[in-house]
């Protein structure tokens, strides 16, 4: 029986990728695959590759020399050293299809390649490969870790029989990378870590991952772990290194997101998800305090009863469900989501949209109508519609909108700023505009679209409008936390604050006059029947 736990990381790379040059890659893909217009890839993973241009240099790399020695000992002749950052990043880019994106690469695309995401096999020179490289994407950046695993798995040539369930190192790597994401909150516009941020990451890695072994993945505890309190008689939990002395305070924030795909197509059903997360920032007295909150959701959220989906932090010790409430008991877990919820019974989108895009040589006619559903609060912090024309230059010929203003952002995105609310009576707004398009050849030269250059251009009609909205102190689902229900075990009186927000996320309205990337109905009943059999 091999040791159960080999949970050390051979290497951490943070982040691999930097800077979005949105149009560049799209342009590149446009050139390679003339059919590519808009990424309808919607999970925030590697398949958002259209969005990023990756630098060849990683911003931060950390190898653990002792773990490397251990890996040599474990793997023997099968040991593969970690290559230079440049080679690694290059190989990774190939593996996640950021380069060679238009061509077949056998090591990546072969039909019999084992499917072991989120781990990747990075093929290096001389037919050598590194596996399992755990890759996590956040804000357009890739974070990687290479866990140490058992010899049997490393040397196993046919990886088809491997399951990640046997590799705790992979789970720890995901957790460690999540911690790194929080520790160095980079955005894709940052190209490298500055010295202060580097030191911050070093402190986190040395304190919480010394020798590559993850002991705590919450970077916000680092300073407290270095200078903890130790005067109490009772044992101090690691998750609360310094007990709070001042007045207790609990701040709950609910962030709800609505993602949607509207097709306005008779044969295709729209798709929508309403989901959110609850975070709790607490400063409460006591050595090992416990907090109780009641999450109220009008539709209920117990997965055993109504198919709801509440998944909680490991800090939550118990949940009690009623028809419409979930009472959570938890220890403080600042800056980390207390729970995530999803509400599958909500299927009506808050804003209905109709989008029509027609192309006539270099002129494009855009029609977009947005209709707020009755009963939804008509007050927005942000309400915009973006119509991107990737790889093209767009200029407005004849703007016409019932409300708000129309402009062009970054040269290729038509932006309609509706304002802070819909017209009160009708609750709808319309954009009807004509734009002129030019094809970008490169940054220095532009060419008008027309005549023979129109070849393949009609694919742009298969595009969508993105609706961006943000509402403060509101949740579409009605999810809330009653401040009166918040209780702290160690403090009778607590100051409680609850805030909410509702934002759109991938809220897409597809051109109703073109092909849409969805299908009528999946064979749900047939499959369900087969499963039960």
């Amino acid at each position: 029986m091999p040791p159960l736990l080999i949970s050390r990381q051979r290497s951490l790379v943070l982040p691999i990728a930097c800077s979005i040059t949105y149009n560049f890659i799209l342009n590149k893909v446009w050139n390679c695959d003339s059919r590519c217009v808009v990424s309808n890839a919607t999970e925030g993973y590697m398949d958002n590759h259209l969005l990023h241009n990756f630098s060849l240099h990683s911003s931060y790399t950390r190898h653990f020399s002792i773990v490397e020695a251990c890996s040599k000992s474990v793997c023997g002749d099968a040991y593969i050293g970690i290559p230079s950052d440049e080679s690694f990043v290059k190989a990774l880019r190939t593996e996640v299809a950021l380069i060679d994106a238009g061509t077949f690469v056998e090591s990546r695309d072969s039909a019999n390649k084992p499917i072991l995401y989120p781990t990747f096999e990075i093929v290096l020179k001389e037919n050598k490969s590194l596996w399992p490289v755990v890759v996590l994407e956040n804000q357009g950046l890739l974070y990687c870790a290479l866990p140490l695993i058992q010899q049997e798995v490393v040397t196993q040539k046919d990886k088809a029989d491997i399951t990640l369930a046997d590799l705790p190192g992979v789970s720890l790597a995901v957790e460690a990378l999540n911690g790194l994401v929080q520790c160095a909150p980079l955005t894709s516009s940052m190209t490298s870590l500055n010295t202060a941020l580097t030191m911050q990451v070093h402190q986190f890695v040395n304190t919480c991952m010394s020798f590559g072994r993850v002991t705590c993945s919450n970077p916000f505890l680092v300073s407290q772990l270095i200078n903890p309190s130790g005067k109490g008689k009772a044992k101090q939990p690691l998750w609360n290194p310094v007990p709070h002395k001042a007045k207790s305070q609990v701040i709950i924030h609910i962030k709800e997101e609505v993602r949607c795909m509207q097709f306005n197509h008779n044969e295709v059903r729209d798709a929508m998800d309403v989901y959110g997360s609850v975070t709790c920032k607490s400063e409460v007295e006591g050595t090992a305090p416990e907090i109780c909150i009641t999450l109220i959701q009008p539709g209920g959220n117990d997965q055993n009863i109504n198919g709801g989906g509440l998944t909680v932090s490991s800090a939550v010790s118990s949940i009690e469900y009623t028809a419409t409430t979930s009472r959570l008991r938890f220890r403080p877990c600042n800056n980390q989501p207390l729970c995530h919820y999803t509400l599958p019974h909500l299927t009506k989108p808050p804003i209905y949209g109709e989008f029509k895009l027609r192309l006539n040589k270099s002129l494009v006619t855009v029609y977009l109508q947005l209709q707020l559903q009755a009963g939804i609060r008509n007050h927005f912090q942000q309400l915009e519609a973006h119509i991107p024309f990737y790889g093209l230059q767009v200029s407005i010929v004849k703007p016409s909108s019932s409300v708000g203003s129309v402009s062009v952002q970054s040269g290729s995105t038509l932006v309609w700023n509706v304002g802070s609310k819909f017209p009160t009576k009708l609750l709808n707004a319309t954009l009807s505009t004509v734009c002129k398009l030019r094809r970008k050849i490169d940054s220095s030269a532009e060419q008008e679209v027309g005549g023979k250059d129109m070849n393949g251009w009609e694919q742009f009609t298969s595009s969508c409008a993105l609706v961006l909205f943000k509402m403060a102190d509101y949740t579409y689902s009605g999810t809330r936390v009653d401040p009166q229900s918040i209780m702290v075990s160690s403090a009778p009186k607590v100051r409680c604050t609850v805030t909410t927000e509702c934002v759109s996320s991938q809220y897409k309205i597809w051109n109703s006059e073109a092909e849409v990337p969805s299908v009528t109905d999946m064979p749900v009943q047939d499959l369900q029947k087969l499963l039960i059999e």
């Binding site: 000992s73 932090s313 991938q506």
Partner: protein
């Protein structure tokens, strides 16, 4: 060094990167560590300590280096005690431990023994200071260092287990988690029957430590197995105080202990609270703990409702939109593992939508979900239709967006489907889908071809590859094929793969007809790239070598002929020529002999491999090519006197100008004679596939290669073989003398030979041609030539008086007797004489491709005056040389 420099820069120590080598860099680092204390030095020292930890492998060369670093770091540790800088303290201990452990890999262990013992005692001393509020972080780090040492040297701390337990019990600060982690590992190692040996195992001589933390042999307390069990209970009780990662580490150690010692499993229920606590979590670490407990101790801890709860949680987390894709994909993997181990739980999936790909899912999730679905329905009847139906979203996304990831996902899913459900329905549907997608998007071809390879490997008896390939060939040989010239290479890949199968799949006639009609036709052939042209010819080659050419002889001939007629690339023309010559001159059997190299068995010779057949280069030529003498007319043909042409002079020239533009496009044919030389000792062996290549000066023009399928040497004993007369086809720019390099490639006994022949020298007379006759006047050629001569003469003479440099005149005197000269003219220029009498000769010579040499020989008193008119001034110089040969 570049990596080292990068680390230096990242740590704000860039100024040290000027150090040229590691010893001097180490000196600099030590210097910084030993500098006086001060707050401004704190950051530098901390960074240096980190750097030493990072680059310890590069910095250590000897035990002295280790000692130096060790002393310096320890000095920093002791010096800054009063500054209360736990960060630097902790880093110093980390770096010291790393350096020591690293040193065992590089330095003789005997030299490190004392230092290592001291260090362990030092660390144990720190851990022993329980509840010291001033050094909590340092003690935590010390415990982690000891854990690392225990991992590298298993059971090294076996004797400390009791003291460690006491320390863990007593400690109230957060350091207790590190104490507990260390304790869990030491207990796990202590009760293991067999430990996994590490690379450092056995390198450290287990000396007697002086620390009072260690249980000495004389002590009465000897920890027993029962005590160890109690310690395990203690660890479980304390888990709520640990971080999730700490809980995971300790729990996994306990699971490991329980697996090693089955009697410990009796108390497995103590882990049940963990299951209840973590069963609703999204954390991957906590989730994995529950998953491992179910996997290894499931029957002891899990009840039915726990199993269902775990399944529900796996389903929820694998599709929860709030979670990151990495987390969801990981949960999908676990779900797949769980259901493969517990297939009876498949029926408990209440909502199949969890495992069905949705509109928001990307390629990776699509792929994983469909793979899972395929495995869930593995042995279920009539599962093919809904499975294929479930592909619809992926296919639709591909229609809207051509993405390599979607293509990759689709091909992998179909491969999985076929492997899991190799039935009639699937075998029919998978090729249909693949052909449909390929027709829609031709860049999908490499994926399909790879799919065929993979299926052939795993399901050798499957009909899917042949069915798929046949359908693809059929689809792409239709007139409505979506292929364009830019994408034709994909189609060729299909054809090339089909050729390696059998005749039914390959359908050579269809392929060749398609090529004839759309690819090697006049409009397209010239546009083919060099690579594409060669690929097409490779296809022809494979057809010739793999199949009986009788089946498609006509079509193949036509393709090669069209290639020869329409291609402009010399390489391609050569190759097409060779194939065509071989195809028309050799029987099917001989063609195979020429093409298919004899199979060499590795087993033929026991210990050696056969050398690969290579080209044999001959030092001496065995062939000789020389110009065939022009046919000489001993008695001049009587010129028929005809009446003058009734055409104005201007019209003659106009007609001639039109005519010459056609004539100039044809090659100039020079007859050559090919023979073997005395060096040839293969008289009885036929030379096959003979190709003679000419290399002419670029400015001169080119000569077409000569292809001879079979060159038989006859009458070898007498050495009087019959001559092989060959046509040397010249496409020259200017009719100037030139020396042409000649090379021959040929096959004897299926071995390719190569030799350089004697150069071929072409002189001015070799290019002499009579003035071309217009087709309309072919029956009155003499009169036409005469009229043309005069028209040209007048025109060129007039032209020579202008400044256009389009014509030139010259005069020379030949001192030969009239009779000698007359004989010479008949011998050398008989065909070009246009008019003659006893006093003069008019000679009109056409020089390929567009030049003329007109001469009027006037006999006078023992000498001959020659007036010359030409449209190429360089010709005059060569004419002079030519006349000298008459002397």
């Amino acid at each position: 060094m570049s990596c080292v420099n990068r680390n230096l820069v990242a740590l704000g120590l860039g100024y040290l990167s000027e150090s040229t080598d590691f010893p001097s860099l180490l000196d600099q680092l030590i210097k910084i560590l030993l500098e006086e204390k001060g707050s401004e030095k704190f950051a530098s020292k901390y960074n240096v300590a980190i750097f030493i930890e990072l680059e310890s492998a590069a910095l250590i060369f000897s035990a002295a280096d280790v000692e130096l670093i060790f002393v310096a770091l320890k000095n920093v540790f002791q010096e800054c005690t009063k500054e209360n800088s736990p960060l630097l303290h902790g880093q110093c201990i980390l770096s010291m431990t790393t350096v020591l452990l690293q040193a065992f890999e590089k330095v003789n262990e005997e030299e490190l023994g004392v230092l290592f013992t001291e260090h362990i005692e030092f660390l144990l001393g720190l851990v022993n200071q329980t509840n010291n509020v001033n050094n909590i972080h340092i003690r935590s780090i010390a415990a982690r260092c000891l854990t690392e040492i225990e991992i590298c040297f298993p059971q090294i701390l076996k004797n400390c287990v009791d003291s460690l337990y006491m320390a863990a019990v007593v400690e109230t600060s957060i350091a207790h988690q590190c104490y507990m982690s260390l304790l869990a590992l030491v207990i796990s190692h202590s009760i293991a029957d067999k430990i996994n040996e590490t690379s450092l195992w056995g390198k450290y001589p287990n000396t007697q430590w002086k620390s009072n933390f260690i249980q000495q042999e004389g002590d009465t307390l000897i920890t027993g197995y029962t005590d160890l069990k109690e310690m395990v209970s203690f660890l479980v009780d304390q888990l709520p105080l640990c971080s999730t990662e700490g809980v995971a580490w300790i729990t996994m150690q306990i699971i490991d202990m329980m697996l090693h010692k089955p009697d410990l499993q009796a108390s497995a229920q103590v882990l049940k609270p963990l299951v209840l606590h973590f069963s609703n979590t999204y954390s991957t670490v906590a989730g994995h703990v529950v998953f491992l407990l179910e996997k290894h101790l499931g029957n002891l801890i899990f009840q039915e409702k726990d199993m269902i709860q775990l399944l529900q949680q796996l389903l929820l987390n694998s599709s929860h939109p709030s979670l990151s894709a990495s987390t969801r994909l990981l949960y999908l993997d676990w779900l797949s593992d769980y259901l493969s181990r517990r297939p009876e739980k498949i029926a408990s999936i209440q909502d199949v939508n969890f495992v069905l790909p949705g509109s928001f899912d990307g390629p990776e999730t699509h792929l994983k979900k469909l793979k899972l679905l395929s495995s869930l329905l593995k042995n279920k009847k009539e599962s093919s239709v809904p499975l294929l139906h479930a592909l619809a979203t992926l296919q639709k996304q591909m229609k809207c967006k051509s993405s390599i990831k979607l293509k990759s996902a689709l091909i992998k899913v179909l491969y999985r489907y076929l492997c899991d459900h190799h039935n009639v329905d699937m075998s029919a549907e998978v090729p249909r889908i693949l052909v449909a997608v390929t027709k829609e998007d031709i860049s999908f071809v490499p994926f399909v071809l790879n799919f065929i390879h993979c299926v052939q490997d795993i399901l050798p008896k499957s009909s899917v590859p042949s069915c798929l390939l046949t359908s693809l060939v059929m689809a792409f040989t239709q007139p409505d094929s979506a292929a364009t010239l830019a994408t034709f290479h994909f189609v060729l890949d299909i054809f090339l793969m089909a050729v390696t199968q059998d005749l039914c799949i390959c359908q050579p006639k269809a392929i060749l007809n398609y090529l004839m009609k759309y690819i090697v036709c006049e409009e397209v052939c010239g546009l083919l790239s060099w690579m594409l042209g060669h690929q097409i010819l490779s296809l022809c080659f494979k057809l010739m070598s793999n199949y009986d050419t009788v089946v498609f002889f006509y079509e193949l001939c036509e393709v090669l002929k069209m290639f020869m007629a329409n291609s402009e690339d010399v390489d391609l023309l050569d190759r097409a020529h060779i194939y065509h010559s071989l195809l028309v001159s050799l029987s099917n059997k001989k063609l195979k002999e020429v093409f298919v190299s004899p199979k060499q068995s590795i087993m033929a010779s026991e210990n050696t491999f056969h050398s690969a057949s290579a080209i044999c280069k001959l030092d001496e030529p065995i062939l000789h090519l020389k110009k065939e003498r022009r046919a000489t007319m001993q008695s001049p043909e009587k010129l028929i006197l005809e009446t003058n042409l009734d055409i104005p002079e201007a019209d003659i020239l106009k007609l001639y100008a039109n005519n010459i533009s056609f004539v100039a496009q044809k090659p100039l044919i020079i007859k050559g004679r090919l023979s073997t030389t005395s060096r040839c000792n293969v008289k009885l062996q036929p030379i096959q596939a003979l190709a003679i290549f000419f290399t002419a000066p670029e400015a001169w023009g080119r000569i077409e290669p000569i292809m001879i399928g079979h060159y038989a040497v006859k009458n070898s004993s007498e050495y009087s073989e019959s001559p092989h007369i060959v046509d040397i086809e010249c496409f020259l720019y200017k009719p100037y003398p030139a020396v042409i390099q000649v090379r021959a490639d040929f096959s004897i006994h299926n071995v390719c030979h190569m030799c350089t022949l004697e150069p071929l020298s072409l002189d001015l007379p070799d290019f002499f041609q009579p003035l071309p006759v217009h087709d309309e006047f072919i029956s009155a050629s003499v009169v036409w030539r005469r009229a043309l001569f005069h028209s040209l003469w007048n025109s060129l003479e007039e032209e020579s008086l202008t400044v256009s440099n389009a014509a030139f005149t010259s005069v020379c005197v030949l001192q030969q007797s009239r009779e000698d000269l007359r004989a010479k003219l008949y011998e050398e220029l008989h065909e070009c004489i246009v008019e003659e009498n006893k006093d003069f000769f008019h000679v009109g010579i056409y020089l390929f491709p567009t030049s003329h040499l007109l001469m009027k020989f006037l006999f006078k008193c023992g000498s001959t005056l020659v007036r010359i008119v030409t449209d190429d001034v360089n010709i005059l110089a060569h004419v002079n040389s030519y006349f000298k040969t008459w002397l």
